[in-house]
């Protein structure tokens, strides 16, 4: 055993310790399961299957004993409960899917399993990934380990908590309008949403199909790169929107200075664009201060800062909240109480069965979004809302292309505030939607985006620096995040008691 305990190790360290037989996958899985149960009050996990986890770990140990080496072999991970996973309930944080047993694995789950990763359990999230606080989970909120009276963000809230509280070295998340980047920001975690279409959506319980994208969350950009290299890649027969781009090694630029740069200034030549709309009155001063300090660090690494504009940033809110609920209302029409999911116990006829089953199975925010989506897609309103929003979506995406003529990466806060108190904004949907302002533009454009721990704001709460790259520039984004993490230690800070 090395001097570090298992839960203190990130992915690379733990994989090395397992490969060098300083510990085993079984020992690591046992330690992390024990720790997850010890911290059950954080609400990070929704389910475990200890026998299956240990069987997977044993199989990984056998592969190692046979001489196999690979970066995730034997490493225990956990999945957001949006990914269907055989052997575990797959609930999407909804009563509608309580106890649902999927007959197949999501492609992302299958790829990580084939690489030898071990599944610790399923992670809490907002119901059907709709929310930014994890308070919309039917199974109770998750708590932010930096202040357990506060939300961890969402919708990948349980994912962020598991990484921040050292209950798993890395996890999967999904991001439709910021659901990886915002909880990563609230919990001092590193997370990346790749270009739309990079990761297969097969087996990701659908929320908004033209926006949903999977990505990793971990303690460092380097660990995220390792996971993403396994998760991404074309899935031609199973996801019609999966991009036919070859799989990449996203670790290839880590620790490598940019072309023409030096080891002392590895990011020399990198132009970082700062959208003025991200640094205005709408952003809390403590968040701006932490982000500005991180940007100064980037200047020391050789980057230059360029003022840019994303003029339709505010417009992203209505555009997103038309498109996403429209697609959600269509996707969630499959929950009719017939083939799977909740069915009401008492009903008069078929229509009554549909209505009662859906009203009992879906929580308030999901029902709200179904109502919005149904209305904007209904006869006579489609052009005024959905089509109009898709036209604006193109303009928003074009704004980014104009901006990328002046810079290589765009940076700003991931969220306008740090984590808020549990219960705040609970019954105010519009207030919740407005809080997504900085993550929605890149989501609508389908661009890769990250949140990187940037320091702390008032009350010692974490602040995330959002980095947005152009299409397919994940490796360069991870290089920029990794260079920052080699020069700083914000990402290594652990909440007290964990």
């Amino acid at each position: 055993m090395s001097s570090k305990q298992i839960h203190e190790m990130g992915v690379a360290e733990l994989a090395a310790a397992i490969a060098d037989k300083k510990t085993s996958s079984v020992e690591a899985a046992q330690a992390l399961l024990g720790r997850a149960k010890q911290h059950e009050s954080l609400g990070a996990y929704l389910s475990f299957n200890q026998d299956l986890t240990l069987a997977q770990a044993k199989a990984a140990d056998a592969r190692i004993a046979a001489g196999e080496r690979s970066p995730l072999l034997g490493v225990p991970l956990a999945h957001k409960d949006i990914f269907v996973t055989q052997g575990f309930p797959s609930t999407a944080g909804s009563k509608m899917l309580e106890g649902y047993q999927s007959p197949f694995d999501a492609t992302v789950v299958a790829k990580l399993a084939a690489a030898g990763a071990v599944t610790l359990g399923k992670l809490n999230c907002d119901e059907f990934a709709m929310g930014g606080s994890n308070q919309n989970s039917a199974y109770g909120p998750a708590r932010n380990p930096w202040d357990t009276d506060r939300v961890p963000g969402g919708s990948s809230g349980g994912s962020a908590v598991a990484v921040a509280a050292r209950l798993a070295p890395a996890v999967t998340g999904t991001d439709t309008g910021g659901s990886i980047r915002q909880p990563a920001s609230f919990c001092n975690v590193t997370g990346i949403k790749p270009t739309y279409g990079r990761c297969s959506r097969y087996g990701m319980i659908a929320f908004a199909s033209s926006l949903d994208q999977a990505g990793p969350m971990a303690r460092s950009a380097a660990d995220c790169a390792t996971l993403l290299s396994v998760m991404a890649g074309p899935d031609i027969d199973r996801d019609s929107t999966s991009l036919d781009h070859p799989a990449e090694d996203y670790t290839r630029l880590l620790g490598v200075p940019r072309e023409g740069a030096t080891a002392a200034q590895p990011l020399k030549g990198l132009r970082i664009g700062l959208p003025k709309e991200f640094f205005g009155d709408g952003c809390a001063p403590d968040v701006i201060a932490a982000v500005r300090a991180a940007l100064s660090e980037y200047q020391k690494l050789g980057a230059t800062l360029v003022d840019i504009s994303l003029p339709r940033t505010e417009l992203s809110i209505p555009v997103y909240y038309i498109i996403a609920p429209a697609e959600a209302s269509s996707n969630l029409s499959r929950f009719d109480g017939v083939k799977f999911g909740h069915r009401a116990a008492q009903y008069d006829d078929l229509i009554d069965m549909y209505k009662k089953s859906r009203s009992e199975g879906f929580g308030p925010e999901v029902q709200r979004r179904i109502m919005i989506g149904t209305y904007v897609l209904s006869h006579g309103y489609y052009d005024a809302y959905y089509l109009k929003a898709q036209q604006l979506r193109r303009l928003i995406a074009q704004d980014f292309q104009s901006a990328f003529a002046q810079c290589d990466v765009i940076a700003g806060p991931a969220a306008p505030t740090t984590a808020w108190k549990l219960g705040d904004k609970a019954d105010d949907p519009v207030a919740n939607y407005l809080a997504d302002i900085f993550t929605l533009p890149a989501s609508l454009a389908g661009l890769p985006g990250m949140s990187v721990p940037a320091g702390f704001g008032a009350g010692g709460l974490p602040v995330g620096l959002q980095l947005i790259g152009n299409y397919f520039q994940e490796a360069a984004l991870l290089q920029a995040a990794d260079a920052f993490q080699r020069a700083t230690d914000w990402h290594l800070k652990t909440p007290e008691g964990y």
Binding site: R368, L395, V430
Partner: protein, 99 residues
């Protein structure tokens, strides 16, 4: 333009959701508050702008693939019906639809 209670009832029926009066009363101002926010979309002239469905289509042509129309999945009826609310002899049970 704002919604009224009878709109809420109509939309709920289309969405196959139950809408008791007290819920409709609570939902109405929330949805109208949301659609106030949406109003700003109308201020932008989008004449001639092509709607964007797949985001990377902004830089490159994206076409949705078709695959050959052949069965690609094995018969997996038992596993597929394991989470069904009501099944009898391999069939999904629904309430009587035709009198």
């Amino acid at each position: 333009m704002s919604l009224n209670l009878s709109d809420i009832g109509r939309i709920a029926h289309l969405a196959r959701l139950e809408m008791p009066p007290e819920l409709a009363e609570r939902l109405l101002p929330q949805l109208n508050g949301f659609f106030d926010l949406v109003e700003q979309m109308n201020a932008v002239d989008t004449t001639g702008v092509e709607p964007l469905a797949h985001p990377t289509a902004v830089i490159d042509h994206v076409s949705l693939r078709l695959r050959p129309d052949v069965a690609s999945e094995p018969n997996n009826r038992e596993a597929n019906q394991r989470s069904a609310p009501a099944v009898e002899r391999g069939l999904f049970l629904v309430p009587k639809v035709i009198e």
